[in-house]
Amino acid sequence: MVGNILDFEKPLIELAEKIKELQSFMDEKGIDLSDEINRLKQRARNLQQEIYAGLTTKQILQIARHQNRPTAREYVDHIFDEFVELHGDRRFGDDPALLGGIGLIDGIPFTLLGHQKGKSTKENLKGNFGMAHPEGYRKALRLMKQAEKFNRPVITLINTPGAFPGVGAEERGQAEAIATNLMEMSDLRVPIIVIVTGEGGSGGALGIGLGDKVMMLEYSYYSVSSPEACAAILWKDADKSAEAAEALKITSSALYKLGLIDEVIKEPAGGAHKDPGKAAMLVKEAILSSLKELSKLSIEELINQRYQKYRQIGEFSRISLSEEGLG
């Protein structure tokens, strides 16, 4: 656990320890310290609020990557009444880095796909830290097509540092698998609800990320490249990753302001890992209200709206920067 403490949370941890000490002192000696304890608890809440209100992008990145951050499977356990995991791409194999299945949320059937990060080293070795192979993306597509056949809405939970960069992944067409998903998701005839729950790492995230409603958990990130890679490539200095993280505008609030995502889902105080059950309930609410909103549209309207949404993304001018005297 010690390794999971975020540096900026240290004052909070210290305060919590002090409260604990006072509590046990009070229990042992039978002295009433409850006023003092309540005062400290209030201070802890204020301090947490203060810290979390002023997080830097680098700190948000740390929360998004926190080892205790709830995984797709945990969200499934909390959110679904029933769930059946389905395996395999029917072409090569089954990728444990990409969880897929069907289930019920409040009696409504959904198809769910999500990157599955492990909680232990063993799980992570099996699931490559949520970095999917082509067979993961192809399993996702197979299940999305199945969802379309049965008119089931699709939920995707994004939490990956990126698609797996390996020899087998390249040999089997990692790029083709992601590209095909993008193409097919643009035209899938059921609503697609996308939630970035932790890491939204580049093409590997987008590979299950094209949808009608794209939401991000408050302390997740979504980026064209990892800030570390960006710093290394652009500035030849991986130590500048904090600057790169700021510059890339990868937080939920920044991306919402830029109009690149549709909604930010609030997290419990101190982040989803502090209260996975509550985080899951907030995610569930967001899913159900999104579905309610999207199901007002006919399928044709839905597909058209989805197309137009992506068609319009891009910032450019009809006048050259240099002509404006800015270049």
């Binding site: 698609a163 797996f164 960069p165 390996g166 020899v167 992944a169 390249e170 040999e171 089997r172 067409g173 990692q174 790029a175 083709e176 992601i178 590209a179 095909t180 993008l182 193409m183 097919e184 643009s186 035209d187 580049s202 093409g203 987008l206 590979g207 990320g209 094209l210 979504y222 980026s223 064209v224 490249s225 890679a229 960006c230 490539i233 652009l234 600057e243 510059a247 890339l248 505008k249 990868i250 991306l255 830029l258 690149l260 989805r306 197309y307 992506y310 068609r311 993304i313 891009g314 910032e315 450019f316 001018s317 009809r318 006048i319 050259s320 920067l321 240099s322 800015l326 270049g327």
Partner: protein, 291 residues
């Protein structure tokens, strides 16, 4: 490479394959180039005559977009569109404006892709050509928009679409705007397929990242230019991840062909003929079924 050879915006004029006028070729003050692969010293004149392919080992030097258009299309047939679209700096990313200005000065291009209409042996096509010299051929908002415009033009005119791609990947300086161009272009390709319009993708050296993982991999026919590096994650990243040597020829066009990822690998001198052959077969018309 090309900059060394021909200097700023002084492009080599390679005539069409059938009709090349050697006198119009304009090598720079330096008369020779060392091959990146076999280290052979090649006279520039010879290199240009050979379409920037090493006469000794067949190594394909990178081509500028303008040169690619010249050696691919019928002479004088090219009509550009989508020219009045310029990059902004939506994230106010440190140094980006400066980089664009430098790339413009270096290449004489406004962005990393040129799109337009033309003919190949009289077959009309919509064509897009990316240029690696402009910020590594990276795809930001403008590249994504121009590629989408080319797809839409093909959709509207029903002319076959040919895109020559080369890219390091998505353009980092535009962050998520760049990543979303993958979604935008792929969605547009879907419409092209549904409408039954031919799309040929030619991947040239190197094509990687978000370009490989979007429109470039979604064509009816995918051609790799001989020896081209074609990847999702580049070899350096993979080597780091697996900390082992990579297989022989890994991520080269021939390797992808062997693994079923490409329809054809074609050398530069055969490319125009091969494209014309495909267009001819495609444009022969359709069989009417059921009377």
């Amino acid at each position: 490479m090309f900059k060394d050879l021909f200097g700023k915006s002084k492009y080599v004029t390679v005539k069409t394959i059938e009709k090349r006028d050697k006198e119009e070729v304009s090598p720079d003050n330096r008369l020779w180039t060392k091959c990146n692969s076999c280290k052979e010293i090649i006279f520039n004149k010879k290199l240009v005559e050979n379409l920037m392919v090493c006469p000794k080992c067949g190594y394909h030097f990178r081509l500028t977009a303008k040169d690619r258009l010249t050696i691919t299309l019928d002479q004088g047939s090219f009509k550009p569109f989508g020219e009045d679209i310029y990059s902004l700096d939506p994230l106010e990313f440190p140094g980006y404006k400066d980089k664009i200005a430098k790339a413009k000065a270096k290449t004489g291009m406004d962005e990393a892709v040129i799109v337009g209409e033309g003919t190949i042996k009289e077959h009309p096509v919509i064509i897009g050509v990316m240029d690696f010299n402009f910020m590594g051929g990276s795809m930001g908002s403008v590249v994504g928009e121009k590629i989408t415009l080319a797809i839409e033009k093909a959709l509207e005119t029903r002319k076959p679409l040919i895109i020559f791609s080369t890219a390091g990947g998505a353009r980092m300086q535009e962050g998520m705007f760049s990543l979303m161009q993958m979604a935008k272009t792929s969605a547009a390709v879907k419409r092209l397929h549904k409408a039954g319009v031919l799309f040929i993708s030619v991947m040239t050296n190197p094509t990687s990242g978000g370009v490989t993982a979007s429109f470039a991999s979604l064509a009816d026919i995918i051609i790799g230019e001989k020896g081209a590096l074609i990847a999702f994650a580049g070899p350096r990243v993979i080597k780091q991840t697996i900390s082992a040597d990579l297989p022989e020829g890994f991520q080269r066009a021939e390797f992808l062909l062997e693994h079923g990822m490409l329809d054809l690998v074609v050398s530069r001198d055969q490319l125009r003929d091969e494209l014309a052959r495909i267009l001819k077969i495609h444009q022969a018309g359709v069989v009417n079924y059921g009377g």
